[in-house]
């Protein structure tokens, strides 16, 4: 359980930081319950969650696996086709286009987003006048970014004619529409993703403010410069938070849907260059009523996201620093 005082612009707030160590086990019940008095009460309190978990989570996961082996149009009952959906996917060019678009979006967008978040958090770390104004300006886009209204705004910024275009024209740079050209359209979505760096920034900031000052003092005595201090003191101590942000942001951006749908008017165009995996799943499932195919896509997504998360947890022991506990 890690919690410490976080100081920000005069206010003192108790903030427990997210840590991976806490996540693995449930908290212990109160002493009075250990006598077995309220075993039933536990289930009673959990009833809504159990119903939801069985009917809306576990049940659907299994149903989705079953549908993925069937041909199901929603109008007629599903009939078994074995691995056909999976082999169709393998030969579907649009499917691979959506995979490539999504992989680019996640593996370029997330590092950029986290890089900016860390940089700004470091700049804000020491506190300053108008700190809360900066924090608000940097944070608000992450609350708004996933909305339809912002996607509409992005269409105006990078459209043809668009604001970014006319901004570049000031410097004599001619450009085609950033959204209408397949070479650049995905980049505008990555910019939109990066624009929402506010929430990982706040998590970094909370972590940075818990850094034990004595380590910096002794590092300074040892003659470490700012870069060396960052690399040898700050960064190792920050890796648990970096890890946490990385897992969360990756899972989040694999599921991005709204920007792709609104900016491409639901098509994933131009030339499938903004066809997110989730958008293609939606098109197949709810546009073409290929529920079986969509379920197969969903299961591949589940396995891939699970594998990447697992891989991150596996590699964590080599680069995530857990202090004295390991």
């Amino acid at each position: 359980m890690s919690s410490s005082l976080v100081r920000s612009a005069g206010e003192q707030v108790e903030v427990p930081t997210p840590g991976t160590a806490d996540l693995a086990r449930p908290p212990e019940g109160a002493a009075m319950n250990k006598k077995g008095k309220s075993g039933k009460a536990g289930y009673l309190f959990l009833t809504p969650w159990i119903i939801g978990c069985v009917c809306l989570t576990l049940g659907p996961i299994i149903a989705s696996l079953y549908f993925s082996f069937t041909d199901y149009s929603l109008l007629a009952s599903p009939h078994w086709v074995g691995l056909k959906n999976y082999s169709d996917m393998f030969h579907d060019k649009r499917y691979w286009a959506s995979v490539i678009v999504t992989v680019k979006y996640v593996f370029i967008g997330v590092p950029i987003k986290l890089g900016i978040a860390l940089l700004i958090a470091i700049l804000l770390k020491d506190g300053m006048r108008h700190m809360s104004v900066y924090r608000a300006i940097y944070y608000v886009p992450s609350l708004l970014g996933g909305s339809v209204a912002i996607a509409i705004l992005w269409r105006q910024i990078f459209g043809d004619p668009g604001i970014f275009q006319s901004f570049l024209a000031l410097f004599g740079i001619e450009s085609q529409g950033w959204l209408t050209s397949p070479a650049t359209s995905l980049n505008t979505l990555i910019v939109l993703e990066a624009w929402q760096f506010g929430s990982p920034m706040l998590i970094f900031l909370a972590g940075l403010r818990q850094m034990p000052q004595d380590l910096y003092d002794s590092a300074a005595v040892d003659g470490a410069g700012p870069l060396r201090k960052f690399w040898n003191v700050t960064f190792p101590l920050l890796t648990p938070i970096l890890f946490f942000n990385l897992v969360l942001q990756m899972i989040g951006s694999f599921q991005a849907f709204t920007p792709s749908f609104i900016i491409s008017s639901g098509t994933g165009g131009p030339v499938d260059s903004t066809l997110f995996y989730t958008l293609y799943l939606y098109i197949q499932g709810f546009g073409n009523l290929q529920m079986g195919y969509a379920s197969a896509m969903a299961w591949v997504l589940l396995v891939v996201v699970g594998a990447i998360t697992g891989l991150l947890f596996f590699t964590a022991k080599y680069w995530v620093f857990y202090g004295d506990s390991r």
């Binding site: 449930p26 109160a30 149903a63 909305s147 706040l202 909370a206 899972i251 004295d324």
Partner: protein
Amino acid sequence: MTTSSIDVGQVRTRPQVKNSKPLWRRIVKHAVLILGAVLMIYPLLWMFGSSFKPESQILGTANPFPGKGANLKGYISGWSALGFPFWRYFLNSFVICVLCIVGNLLSCSLAAFAFARLEFRFKGKMFAIMMGTIILPFHVLVVPQFVLFRTMGMVDTILPLVVPKFLAVDAFFIFLMIQFMRNVPRELDEAAALDGCGPLGLYWRIMMPLCLPALATTAIFTFIFTYNDFFSQLLYLSDTSKFTVPLALRSFIDNTATSNYAGLLAMSTLALLPVIGFFLVFQKLLVEGIATTGIK
């Protein structure tokens, strides 16, 4: 985080203990921060300003300020550009949001209380499942859930959007509340038990009042997520009288965008205001909520 021994690199004897940073570094830092802030806020500023511009000065005009031609035509024409006046879509959105907030507050706090304070069989396994569902991609569930709600005749009602919240499907709010309840002293439980307070009384009279900050954080984030949600509303609502703000904006682009950019930007600006308002009012709670759980 207890970290007292850490290798801080090779020892060099060059004492250099300075607290104040050099002036040029402070200047660079503030320059970067201000430039960054301008870049971040510029798109929003442009949208706000352009919503007051005459139609001809919007497209491709980088200047966000409307100048002399400023008017409210965009707001007036946008408000009634679709089948219903825009208040209808705001009302629809708010009704869904309020129901989702009530659902999440009740169901998640009940589950969190069980995990935080009660003992029962399979608790560890259920806790692991609950934590696992946090990282589960929503799209994996979407087809079977749609089939389920369709067989129950709930498609094109708000029920598929609201009912899941009463069944505690948003596991990260459970996690948030568990984290909070862990910090409530156990002496309170014992004292309440001595006074004859059962688990329900403990939950309702002791835990809920003490967890108000966590409940408030849950309510605010539920509002923002639900209000911004597009995917499930697109899936389940098709009748225009039931449209929410995101669905209305989407049909705005499809219908009239080529002729009424001022209206589109005006309505998009209005659509952002509730979230910005919530942020300004609840800034402190939001910031703590982020730091605690890492949600959006």
